[in-house]
């Protein structure tokens, strides 16, 4: 126990540790934090779905929870059930064998819901493209709000993608919108407990 505490003290706080902290990273963390506070009352839940990736994007998503990026400190939690999720983070081209599972996961996510497609494969089908085995880009299967390119996209880019998804579009009344055309929700209002938000 003593050794664990000693190592924790020696390691220090890695999040935004100066002088290595990238100013841009500091800025995007700040914006994410205030966006989540404003539009999600402090907690954004994300369900990740691997629809057919090479696993590179998963490595970077998992990196988001390391002490450097520390996504949980911003109020972002990865959840096991789509029924608990505000956002789906989808990686890979959608393999035809994952098409049904992805659709069911999307259908099980209560509205309002956001979808972020991650990586070149998620954006365009990537090097795998469309074929007998691959549906290609995520938006050919479910509606997508934000697509983040990269192979794989670095944690910083993923955070920017999440920030874009939760931020109001330019010129709007100030609420995030989902690509399904619904107004996402009213800022500051909490849904009545137990009742679905309409």
């Amino acid at each position: 126990m003593y050794r664990i505490l000693k190592q924790i003290a020696a390691t220090g706080i890695k999040t935004e540790a100066p002088p290595e902290a990238d100013e841009a990273l500091r800025v995007v963390r700040g914006r994410l934090h205030s966006g989540i506070l404003k539009y999600f009352s402090g907690a954004l839940t994300i369900r990740h779905v691997d629809a057919g990736s090479c696993n590179g994007c998963e490595l970077e998503i998992n990196s988001l929870n390391n002490p450097y990026y520390n996504l949980e400190a911003l109020g972002i939690k990865f959840v096991a059930s789509p029924r608990h999720a505000d956002m789906l983070l989808v990686t890979g081209p959608v393999s035809r064998h994952m098409e049904t599972a992805l659709k069911r996961t999307f259908d099980a996510t209560p509205e309002p819901r956001l979808v972020v497609a991650l990586g070149d494969c998620g954006c365009t089908g990537g090097i795998f493209g469309e074929s007998y085995a691959s549906c290609g880009r995520v938006s050919s299967v479910i509606p997508v709000d934000v697509a983040v390119p990269g192979c794989p996209p670095a944690p910083f880019a993923i955070m920017q993608g999440i920030l874009t998804a939760i931020s109001p579009p330019n010129g709007s009344d100030g609420s995030p919108e989902t690509s399904e055309g619904h107004l996402a929700f009213i800022p500051g209002a909490a849904p009545p407990s137990g009742a679905p938000q309409q």
Partner: protein
């Protein structure tokens, strides 16, 4: 085993690794496999081919590892069946079923006739890797029924898990048969990530294929890229410069260290020690940032190319890496002691997910997991090609076969890889980092064979005209080990499954192709 023991002529293939090739008859196919098995060799890979556009029929190929090296045998088929070898090599079971899904050629006499990679994306009677099949054909998703083995009895329940899993992990299906919390049986179903990679390769030339090879299994991109480059250099006669080979080994060992750090962190977390994940993931992030700084990519994708490497390092880079291996080594030593002394962690690790060495040997457990169950096999030691023949790699073998043993092997391999990186930097030759790549002849066979961090990765390449790929089969060591995971969970409880699964950390994408 000596090459002369085989009853057919073997032709050596040029290239970095000791590889021979022969065309065999149906009878020689089984005899050769039995011989290899009896002499302690193993089946590395098994794949099909369609040569009907050349006036021949279908063919099956097997890559067998024997003490002199790799022997690749090709069996041209008169009809649509070939002799089963799953009784000789248990890992052949699923490989044969996959060949049947993709080519429509069956293993005669095989005990398990079920489909494997095919779910509902293409119907029965359609075979995507046949030359006559247009890869862009799309079928409506059909009905998909898979006959899992049913376990019946008082109090037996089934838990179906996946394909979408609770964490941030690849998709696959696990069907547990349980009594209470105890696992009576686990059956896997994979193939959810099948993207038609082998068919996609046939649309590419030898240069384009390198990018796809590095994305078969993203966490082993360096191993795959090197195996691909080896295969291409074998057929084209290119000889990468020495500096390139040293940099390739540097990249491969960095990938090994990075993945082992990652796995040790997650194994700690899966047993409830979040401290472990926090610490190991910081080390991992430090190394990824160094990779990005020095090689232009956090995971070193596209660094290894046919002919050499795409990025070089300078004196500053060397100094950075030296500092890094020193600090990573010190921290890993400290964390190892914390893990070993942590009673709660050891209570979870020890005796969990055990595969005894006699079972491992009989069922063909390979790679990292094999070394944790007493199977001492490592290409860097047994078939050391440049620069490994200068490094004196020390193989780590443990007999326990449990989660604790697989953790120990990772720790020891990290320390060994850090040592190897130091030697590579000390002995780094000067000169060019890439050699010109002559165009390859048509219908040439090239094999690449690399010890990735999970185990041996194999790329089998056959060239077409105009420097194009006629057929490419990438083999992931997960094919050998997935069936053994079903054995490892027996006698354990369901909550231990994530820990056992992570202790193997097998590839879904590399398997499904």
């Amino acid at each position: 085993m000596k090459l002369e023991d085989f009853q057919f002529e073997l032709e050596p293939l040029p290239g970095a690794m000791p590889v021979w090739h022969a065309r065999v008859s149906a009878q020689q196919w089984r005899t050769a496999c039995q011989q290899v098995r009896d002499q302690g060799g193993r089946l590395v890979a098994l794949w099909g081919a369609d040569n009907s556009d050349r006036g021949e029929g279908y063919a099956v190929h097997a890559a067998l590892a024997v003490s002199p090296g790799l022997v690749a045998i090709t069996l041209p088929l008169a009809g649509e069946s070939f002799p089963d070898i799953s009784d000789i090599f248990p890992p052949a079971n699923r490989m044969q079923r996959a060949i049947c899904d993709l080519f429509g050629v069956r293993a005669e006499g095989a005990a398990d006739p079920r489909k494997w990679l095919r779910h509902a994306a293409w119907p029965e009677g359609v075979f995507p890797l046949r030359k006559s099949f247009d890869g862009s054909t799309v079928f409506a998703n059909g009905a998909d029924a898979y006959p899992f083995v049913q376990v019946r009895g008082e109090g037996v329940h089934e838990i179906p898990v996946g394909p979408v899993h609770a964490g941030t992990i690849e998709p696959g299906h696990f069907r547990f048969s349980i009594v209470g919390e105890g696992v009576l049986r686990l059956e896997e179903r994979l193939g959810y990530k099948h993207k038609g990679i082998e068919k996609r390769f046939e649309q590419m030339d030898l240069i384009q294929g390198a990018r796809l090879a590095g994305r078969v299994s993203g966490d082993s991109t360096v191993a795959y890229a090197w195996a691909y480059a080896m295969a291409v250099e074998s057929v084209s006669g290119a000889r990468p410069p020495q500096r390139a080979l040293w940099l390739r080994a540097l990249a491969l060992e960095r990938e090994r260290v990075g993945q082992h750090l990652w796995d040790l962190g997650f194994m700690g977390s899966d047993a409830g020690l979040a401290f472990g994940l926090a610490q190991f993931s910081c080390l991992r992030e430090d190394m990824l940032r160094t990779n990005a700084l020095l090689f232009g990519h956090r995971y070193l994708m596209d660094v290894i190319v046919p002919g050499g490497v795409a990025r070089d390092i300078d004196g500053g880079g060397i100094a950075t890496i030296r500092g890094e291996i020193d600090s990573v080594g010190k921290t890993v030593t400290l964390l190892k002691d914390i893990y070993i002394e942590h009673a709660g962690l050891q209570d979870r690790f020890v005796d969990c997910g055990r595969i005894r060495s006699v079972v491992a040997g009989r069922l063909g457990l390979a790679g990292l997991a094999g070394r944790a169950s007493g199977i001492g096999s490592d290409l860097r030691v047994q078939f050391a090609t440049l620069p490994y023949d200068r490094l004196g790699v020390r193989m780590t073998v443990r007999e326990g076969g449990d989660v604790a043993a697989r953790a120990t092997v990772r720790v020891e391999e990290i320390m060994e890889s850090l040592r190897l990186i130091g030697i590579l930097l000390d002995s780094l030759p000067g000169g060019e980092i890439a050699a010109p790549l002559p165009p390859a002849p048509q219908n040439a066979l090239g094999i690449g064979w690399v010890e990735g961090w999970r185990g041996e990765v194999l790329i089998a390449l056959e060239t077409g005209a105009d420097n194009r790929i006629r057929r490419l089969h990438p083999h992931d060591p997960s094919w050998q080990n997935w069936p053994l995971l079903e054995r490892a969970v027996l006698g354990n409880i369901v909550p231990d499954f994530p820990l056992i699964n992570k202790s193997f950390n097998l590839s879904y994408s590399g398997h499904d192709l």
